[in-house]
Amino acid sequence: MKEPVLVLDQVHASYGNIKAVKGISLTIKSDEMACLIGANGAGKSTTLMLISGILKPQQGTIWFQGQSLEGVTSEKRVQMGISQVPEGRHIFPEMTVLENLELGAYRRRDKIEIKQDLEQTFTLFPQLKERGQQRGGTLSGGEQQMLAIGRAMMSRPKLLLLDEPSLGLAPLIVEQIFEIIQQINQVGTTVLLVEQNAHLALMVTDHGYVMETGKITIEGESKELIADQRIREAYLGE
């Protein structure tokens, strides 16, 4: 059995009086590709923010590679190997594609290897190479999503957190991006994917968690979840 990369143990979080996450537990194994699906407002993005350290849990512990993340700042987590692609891409609009990518490696000092990773990112996303000197804000939505993923990969993450990468993109582009995400996973990066597009997410991942109003209600192998009657009714529109 593979070692877990990420463990959430009874984690709670809230915004003021509103409880967004109500005691969730999940385990993501090394090299696995997992997804967190659910309706809008179920607490999926909040869960990602708890893992990346932008938000602090009120209760419960998050473990990364066997180490508790309690009190670990978000910038330290980037250094430890947790990288997040935020929802809505959040490209630096006035910077060039190259500058955006270089900022992804902000916490790293190994210049030669950063250069190698840059080349690798460009082989993964050839479109970005062509647009190297173009400003991030002038890219199309799909290219911006690619840039956001490429930028997150520049920190050499062990765990890649993706928040709604299909949001607002044409089906063809989504397909392309998901293929690349699968490639990233196969090369050895553990991936946690948050998606509203449940069918797509379950198709490409190994393990799935379903979130409803701050709790995980169903979990299991993704291929079993696709067949699950409850999920078919609630999320796959049958």
Binding site: S74, E94, M95, E102, R107
Partner: protein, 322 residues
């Protein structure tokens, strides 16, 4: 895109060379001292514009109370020199550090604020300071301030009170400030500021500590403002609250907007234009029997024209990148 390296290139060297010659040329003119005074004032504003640009240009936070740090620097140096008999060369760095500390203090509660909310706090801060120095009689003389009792700095036994001495004095301070800000802008720190100014959330996911980098910008910006204030205290000999009104913050802000916000050249050019224009207008308006404050009308008109015809500043740089 503006090449920042050109600041240190031979062309900049040439400009600097000519700037150093100015006092020699004006020595033969009737109005020579007046010209030197205009130049020195313009350099002072250039220094202040560089300082404000660190927060408003680099990190993208609108600071409407920059004059507060100018005031702190001026009064700190003024107090140390006039009341405690300190040498200017000791008072200057202490004023800078004092200003920087207030930059951090003002920054602490505003770290989570952006946009209008941040601007309002900065405005409140400088207004508060203004009211305090205007009404505090015992220590700093209330609205009259220090009257003719700030001594000139001395160097190797010479008192530096003549206009050509003041000219070189502020020119050197300006160049040192420019070097520091230039180096910062092109460093890792500068890139982090740039990232923060464009997207705070993304900057955070890149592993940039927002609080740390913003605080650093606040402190450096404030310290530069305070250095300007310390120079001003001995330059004017007497300083009083009236100099540090809210409009002064707006004027410095106009300078960096006029030149092109976020760029060093923009800040320098904008300040050179408005800084010298202000001094020229103050004299020429009184010739025309118009109140000196009507110069703000002209500044306003310039800004409106800028917004209409060159919204990205004289240098036309829409980039916040170097």
């Amino acid at each position: 895109m503006i090449s920042m390296s050109s600041i240190l290139s031979s062309r900049s060297g040439l400009i600097l060379f000519f700037l150093c010659l100015v006092p020699l040329a004006t020595a033969y003119l009737d109005q020579g001292d007046y010209l030197l005074r205009i130049c020195s004032t313009a350099y002072l504003y250039m220094l202040l514009a560089l300082g404000l640009n660190v927060v408003t240009g680099f990190t993208g936070l609108l600071d409407l109370g920059y004059v507060g740090f100018y005031l702190i620097g001026g009064y700190t140096a003024g107090l140390l020199m006039a009341r405690l008999g300190w040498s200017y060369w000791a008072a200057l760095p202490v004023a800078a550090i004092h200003g920087g500390l207030w930059g951090l203090l003002r920054g602490a509660p505003t770290l989570r604020l952006t946009g209008d909310y941040f601007a309002i706090v900065t405005f409140g801060f400088s207004e508060l300071l203004f009211r305090i120095v205007k009404n505090e009689e015992w220590l700093i003389g209330g609205p009259n301030g220090f009257v003719n009792d700030i001594p000139a700095p001395t160097l190797f036994g010479y008192e530096l009170w003549q206009y050509w001495q003041q000219y070189y004095h502020i020119l050197i301070l300006l160049i040192l400030t420019l070097l520091v800000v230039y180096r910062l802008h092109n460093s890792r720190i500068g890139r982090a500021w740039q990232a923060i100014s464009q997207d705070e959330e993304a900057a955070q996911t890149m592993g940039i500590n927002l609080h740390e980098y913003k605080s650093l910008a606040f402190a450096i910006s404030a310290a530069i403002g305070a250095i300007g204030g310390a120079f001003f205290a001995q330059f004017q000999v007497n300083i009083s609250a009236g100099v540090f009104e809210f409009w002064e913050s707006i004027l410095i802000l106009c300078m960096i907007v006029l030149g092109g916000i976020g760029t060093l050249k923009g800040a320098l050019i904008g300040a050179a234009i408005l800084g010298s224009l202000g001094e020229v207008l103050r004299i020429s308006l009184s010739w025309m029997r118009l109140p000196a404050d009507s110069r703000y009308l002209i500044f306003g008109a310039i800004l409106v024209m800028m917004m209409r015809f060159r919204p990205a500043g004289i240098l036309r740089s829409t980039q916040k990148s170097p």
